[in-house]
């Protein structure tokens, strides 16, 4: 996603205030172009995208995604260890990990469905049910909280017209509270799909929402 109208990558401590564009800070030539087939197997287990348009019926593990799946398997001594990256792959395509997705993954990795269910439910990043096109996660932990995170969360709820944890009527936004996102020096940190927005104040929220609505992918 390009040209975010507000930009404040914050302070880098004793490197001074950045004299850089936001894209440079985020690594524009490194971020956002990972090949769908996973590229080199060493990095195939990372989940590059959270697709905006989520298709709960998308076929799993076909074409480039099949290749990524095969590459992931080569990096571990057993199939079980591929479970997390493979669940992430399912979520990347479908937007959440449904019971059917879990069963499919279980079959592929020769694990029992009950086992896969037990693991999936342990991890917060696997959405157990469908979410909006944009999943908005507002950190309200201590450092952000000291700097007004609760107001930022309220502003997101207000502008998206969504109930906490529920998806807005237009299907665009699901807003939830998050634990510390490890960007505490740039409060409030908000994760929207796969990217972080830092130094967000309630005054920025309307602009972020407006900017996101027409976008295709994040």
């Amino acid at each position: 996603m390009s040209d975010i109208p507000f930009s404040n990558p914050g302070w880098a401590g004793n490197t001074g205030e950045f004299d850089l564009t936001e894209k440079e800070v985020r690594g524009d030539d490194f971020v956002g172009d990972r090949p769908k087939d996973g590229g080199h197997p060493s990095g195939a287990g990372t989940m590059p995208y959270m697709l905006v348009d989520k298709d709960p019926d998308a076929p799993l593990f076909e074409g480039e995604y099949r290749q990524r799946f095969e590459k992931i398997l080569t990096r571990y001594p057993d199939k079980r260890a591929a479970l997390l990256p493979v669940l992430s792959l399912a979520q990347e395509l479908r937007g959440h990990v449904s019971a059917e997705s879990m069963d499919e993954v279980a079959g592929l990795l020769e694990l029992s469905p009950a086992y896969v269910r037990g693991v999936t439910t342990f991890y917060t990043m696997y959405n157990k049910r469908a979410v909006g096109r944009y999943l908005v996660q507002v950190c309200t932990n201590i450092s952000c909280n000291l700097c007004g995170a609760d107001e930022v969360l309220q502003a997101f709820l207000r502008y998206t017209d969504a109930e906490m944890g529920e998806t807005s009527k237009d299907g665009n936004f699901t807003v939830i509270e998050a634990e510390c996102l490890a960007a505490c020096g740039f409060p409030t940190c908000v994760q929207i799909n796969s990217r972080y927005y830092e130094n967000v104040t309630p005054a920025d929220v309307a602009q972020i929402i407006e900017h996101l609505k027409p976008e295709g992918e994040s």
Binding site: P48, L83, C184
Partner: protein, 420 residues
């Protein structure tokens, strides 16, 4: 003075070509010429201590690994950064990914591992792409993989992405998670150097620890010891957040005075307000009041001297407008949410403490609740599989001891309201 953060703010540093032009991967070559045991000795002599929170001497940890690799050995990089207040590993990964990769390769070589896994926090989509791309570049140019620089050494590097769970930062929770299991910590012993990930001897280190390794190998232990104190040598990233004019990551020698960090380096407290409290090491250490903060030296021993811990040096500054009860309640909520549930004292204790804190915050608490909180958290210390449980006591107990008036104000408001 910067060692590991020298190139923060320079987007070129992510490129392998630039990294190599600036002397990158020389330390790996040097390590290969030294042999594994001499690398371990050098890191041991440098006094480098683990930056993931516990401060365990890194070289000593490496020396626990079997000297003969009769089974596969593994090096794990803990990049699951999620202790509230901590935001250094993400910067290290996104600004200087090759520094970390080189550190991983050297560490893997030293412990005779042929595979290094970088377990990255799942939420770090963008950071993980930077690291994954850098690893790919390293493979392409022969800095990782088989027969590195034609030295005959094979070391694979894999970027593994987590899926959201604070407890996967705990070393054995991370191992279970990497194996495709629930990230529940394991009972120790056996320790990872004997039975680690995939049942094999393993060593786990934090991102910042591994990032310092190439510099130590290049320049030697004496050079590293020019900073810091005898028992806490070297430099450390301090993550400063909260009510501060210039939040951010500051690399400073260990032993640096906390008051100078706040007043001089970080430009003082926002709006010229007074200081109320500081948490020097992330959410699981005791809170300091302003008087203790003035005396605190930021090294492992200096923090113990004022009754707290350095942890991962996540300095959270709170000015005199802070609602301490609310903030402690938020931290306790965090632990209640993140407890993996294996141990009763942790699961029940954190949930109970969170309930009581909430009750006090909304003005429905009693003076007895404070005693109950002290007791509940006391019973959570030293009784469980991992130390997540122990982490609840320091913030709760220190806040009740040092900011009792804040608690009582909420309680007496309620009590007098009830009387009228």
């Amino acid at each position: 003075m910067r060692v590991i953060s020298t190139h923060f703010g320079d987007p070129l540093q992510r490129r392998l070509g630039t990294y190599v032009e600036r002397g990158g991967y020389e330390a790996l070559k040097k390590a290969f010429s030294m042999g594994p045991d001499e690398v371990v000795e050098t890191v041991k002599a440098s006094g480098l201590r683990g930056r993931g929170g516990a401060g365990f001497p890194t070289g000593v940890k490496w020396s626990f690994m079997p000297k003969e690799a009769t089974k596969p050995h593994y090096l794990l990089c803990n990049a699951d950064e999620s202790e509230p207040g901590t935001f250094k590993d993400r910067e290290l990964m996104r600004w200087d990914p090759h520094q970390l990769i080189e550190g991983c390769l050297i560490a893997a070589y030293a412990i005779r591992a042929k595979h290094a896994y970088i377990y990255c926090r799942g939420e770090f989509f963008e950071t993980n792409q930077v690291v994954a791309r850098a690893v790919e570049d390293a493979y392409e140019k022969g800095y990782a993989g088989e027969d590195i620089f034609g030295s005959g050494n094979d070391i694979a590097v894999t970027v593994h992405q987590g899926a959201g769970a604070y407890i996967c930062g705990e070393e054995t929770g991370l191992m279970n998670s990497l194996e495709g299991r629930r990230g529940e910590p394991r009972v120790k012993p056996p320790f990872p150097a004997a039975v680690g990930v995939f049942g094999m001897p393993s060593t786990i280190n934090n991102v910042e620890t591994l990032a310092a390794v190439p510099h130590i190998v290049n320049n030697g232990e004496e050079w590293y010891r020019q900073w810091g104190t005898e028992s806490s040598p070297g430099t450390k990233l301090f993550c400063v957040s909260g009510h501060i004019n210039k939040p951010g990551n500051y690399e400073l020698p260990l032993g640096f005075p906390l008051s100078e960090l706040i007043d001089d380096v970080c430009g003082g407290i926002r709006n010229g307000n007074g200081l109320k409290a500081v948490i020097p090491g992330g959410s699981s250490v005791a809170i300091l009041n302003s008087e203790e903060a003035r005396r605190c030296r930021l090294d492992y021993e200096g923090c113990i001297d004022v009754g707290t811990m350095l942890g991962c040096a996540s300095v959270i500054v709170m000015d005199d407008t802070t609602d301490i009860v609310k903030q402690v309640r938020r931290m306790v909520d965090f632990y209640a949410h993140e407890s993996c549930g294996q141990c009763t004292p942790c699961r029940e204790g954190s949930a109970w403490a969170a309930q009581i804190m909430k009750r006090i915050e909304i003005g429905e608490g009693t003076v007895e609740d404070l005693d109950t909180l002290m007791e509940v958290t006391e019973q959570m210390v030293g009784t469980t599989i991992c130390v997540l449980s122990d982490s609840v006591a320091p913030p709760v107990q220190s806040s009740i001891q040092k900011f009792r008036a804040d608690y009582l104000a909420l309680i007496s408001e309620q009590e007098s309201a009830g009387a009228t």
